[in-house]
């Protein structure tokens, strides 16, 4: 118990040092939050389906662990498979440069009890595989702890979301019509030129 307390204290101290140097690293954050995400079975659709997120402090940690927590931000994060060959989604230890979690689900002031939120997947979420992570922020708006619904290797409890296409029937029709018009106009010009040439000869 005391050892755990000491470990925790050293974690907090480390993260204090990290924040004074301005570079908080993910590996320095303790995993003190428990996060679960539930949704319907199968491929989730952006702009349609909902995800219910529940988060709270892991009660097995000693009291006082959450003394610095002011805000909780829950984010949608890319699973490793969706980061392959896509440098703009890269996981980097320094949180200010980390691009793993690009979508904010909700931001709430920290509360001791378990919190729930039902989120309708926004329409700018791309097709990919995801997990959910919650960051705890202190009063200076620095990350001090986290929790996620998957394991450390990010292999379990992942879910897939399919994006909206962004296409509309009206756009499709407009594209085809304008393209056809360009080609027809070109042929019309050629025809007119030929007629002018024939007339000039006569």
């Amino acid at each position: 118990m005391a050892a755990r307390g000491l470990l925790l204290a050293s974690f907090l101290l480390f993260s204090c040092f990290a924040e004074t140097y301005g570079m908080i690293s993910f590996s320095s954050l303790p995993r003190t939050l428990v996060v679960t995400a539930s949704h319907r079975q199968g491929l989730l659709k952006a702009d349609e389906d909902k995800i219910t997120v529940i988060w709270g402090l892991n009660q097995s940690f000693p009291a006082g662990t959450d003394s610095a927590y002011t805000t909780i931000k829950v984010k949608l994060c890319y699973a490793p498979i969706s980061q392959v060959d896509r440098a703009w989604r890269k996981t980097v230890d320094h949180l200010s440069k980390d691009k793993t979690c690009q979508f904010k689900i909700v931001s709430r002031p920290y509360s001791n009890t378990n919190q729930t939120f039902q989120w309708t997947i926004e329409c700018d979420v791309p097709t990919a595989t995801y997990f959910v992570r919650a960051y705890a922020f202190n009063a200076e708006d620095h990350e001090v702890a986290y929790g996620q619904n998957t394991d450390a290797k990010k292999t379990t409890n992942l879910f897939e979301i399919q994006a909206i296409t962004g296409r509309h029937v009206s756009l499709d029709i407009a594209s085809v019509c304008f393209s056809a018009f360009s080609i027809v106009a070109l042929m019309g010009f050629f025809f007119a030129e030929k007629r002018k040439g024939r007339k000039a000869q006569q």
Binding site: C123, D124, A128, S175, F178, S182, L186, F189
Partner: protein, 504 residues
């Protein structure tokens, strides 16, 4: 230059600008829209600008498109290469089409035929369809060749470098302007309430419509030659119709065309490659915001507003004193310096130094493009289009090669790639030393006393063709190109005394 005045002919047309015996303008007045010369200039550069805007419309919106279409870095890289590779053969085909049908019809046809690809970008739904639309849209920048051909047909030797340089440079500007235009258009559309993934699709209608309208303008207001259009002149007998096979043959057998194709790949080709990678380079190396990196990338392309025209103007200024030899030397010096700045760019580590070096690099490399097309109009008269097409196509080959060798995958870091690209620029610019015009000389050798301009340009016509009188246009051109001898020899070359005996 009081070399020429209007020669009275059967139907003396009145021109606003002073012209030579071929009715090509001997002055370049930027703010005039007088038909046919300056009007052709404005139509040419605006339509070419619209093609560049369309071809490079995707890169600034990639952060949205890559999420919508689920693209990987490899997909994006391949699409970037596809966008510039289509034009390799399109430029050569365009050159031939200009020789046979005239720049007005050739360019308007290409522009209208590629516009569907831009409209269809709005309905792309996968990496493959994205690559295909970028590939076909890229064909449109073959209008570069028709632009240069048109300017070379409308403007005389003393100003042809300037006309080519300004038209080419202001067209290339589209590649930089689009990095600013597309995000703004996208933002405005999103403001009206559209989703990200719909807004970028609607945004593509803007470059597509611009392209369509510019093609209409070319068809309605444009004219191939100072005296009229190809078809009209061919029917009235003023311009003989030429044979494709011979035009093509005389173009590809001229070694100077091949040398310039290679060297153009290392000024223009490098410019295209840098257009594709420079935003990412600044974003990754200096951790800038995407918006900031995009603005720096745009400034590289925007330098074209003065750098390429500057190259063309310098070519003409140098030619007044030193003739063709001056044009060749200046081209070699400027392009080599471009290579030097490229090497330095890969080496500097601070942001402000990088931006400064990048601007210097862009000025020299783009000026070299302008200088190249100060030489191209003189390589062949019969096959001007084919030579322009070869050089232009060579530019795109350089772009493809450079991206494949130095910027694909993770073999070289971007900094190393840029440095090595600079070394390659210097090496591939050396062949300019091998260009030799018998009547004017080369970089290291003076002109031969026995060869004249007429000999050089008449060598493209057989004696049977000369009997039929097909070579008259080339003869006029040879006469007008005597200024390429430079000032020292000008006193001995007064054309009014030396009028050719075959001037019927």
């Amino acid at each position: 230059m009081e070399v020429q005045g209007t020669v009275p002919e059967s139907h003396p047309p009145k021109f606003t600008l002073p012209v030579d015996t071929e009715h090509k303008a001997t002055e370049f007045r930027l703010f005039s829209v007088a038909a046919p010369h300056m009007r052709a200039f404005h139509l040419a550069w605006v339509s070419f600008f619209s093609c560049f805007v369309s071809t490079f419309a995707a890169p600034p919106l990639l952060p949205i498109i890559r999420d919508n279409l689920n693209l990987t870095s490899t997909d994006i890289g391949n699409a970037g290469i596809a966008a510039v590779s289509g034009a390799v053969f399109a430029r050569l085909a365009m050159g031939t089409a200009c020789d046979l049908f005239g720049p007005r019809l050739a360019s308007a046809s290409l522009i209208l035929l590629t516009t569907p690809a831009v409209y269809f970008t709005s309905i792309a739904s996968s990496p493959v369809s994205f690559l295909l639309v970028r590939f076909f849209t890229g064909f449109s920048i073959a209008t570069f060749v028709s632009t240069q051909f048109w300017m070379s047909s409308m403007f005389s030797a003393p100003v042809v470098g300037t006309a080519n340089g300004v038209a080419g440079g202001w067209g290339n500007l589209g590649g930089g302007a689009t990095q600013l235009i597309m995000p703004i258009v996208f933002g405005l559309i999103r403001h009206t309430g559209a989703d990200n993934f719909t807004a970028w699709r609607i945004a593509f209608f803007i470059p597509a419509l611009f392209q369509t309208l510019s093609a209409f303008a070319v068809l309605i207001f444009g004219q191939d030659l100072p005296d009229g259009n190809f078809r009209g002149l061919q029917k009235s007998g003023d311009k003989p119709k030429d044979k494709f096979s011979l035009v093509f043959y005389h173009g590809i057998t001229n070694y100077r065309g091949w040398i310039l194709a290679l060297t153009y790949g290392y000024c223009f080709g490098v410019e295209l490659a840098v257009d594709n990678i420079i935003a990412e380079y600044f974003y990754d190396r200096f951790n800038l915001k995407l918006h900031t990196a995009g603005m720096i990338a745009a400034s590289f392309g925007l330098a074209n507003v003065i750098s390429r025209p500057g190259g063309g103007i310098i070519s003409d200024v140098v030619a007044k004193r030193f003739g063709m030899r001056g044009r060749l030397w200046t081209l070699w010096v400027v392009q080599t310096l471009g290579g030097v700045f490229c090497i330095i760019l890969g080496q500097v580590g601070s942001l402000s130094a990088s931006i400064a070096v990048m601007i210097a690099f862009s000025l020299f490399v783009q000026a070299a493009c302008g200088l190249t097309f100060g030489v191209v109009p003189f390589i062949s008269r019969r096959s001007l289009g084919v030579i322009s097409g070869m050089t232009g196509g060579g530019g795109n080959v350089g772009a493809v090669l450079t991206q494949l060798i130095f910027f694909k995958g993770s073999k070289y870091s971007k900094e190393t790639g840029i440095t090595l690209m600079g070394v390659m620029i210097i090496c591939c610019t050396l062949p300019i030393c091998l260009i030799y015009f018998p009547q004017w000389g080369g970089m290291f050798c003076g002109p031969s006393d026995k060869q004249t301009e007429e000999d050089y340009y008449m060598s493209e016509w057989s004696s049977t063709e000369k009997e039929k009188g097909l070579h008259h246009a080339s003869l006029k051109f040879a006469d007008n190109s005597r200024s390429e001898k430079g000032r020292r020899v000008k006193a001995a070359a007064l054309p009014t005394d030396e009028s050719s005996p075959t001037q019927v």
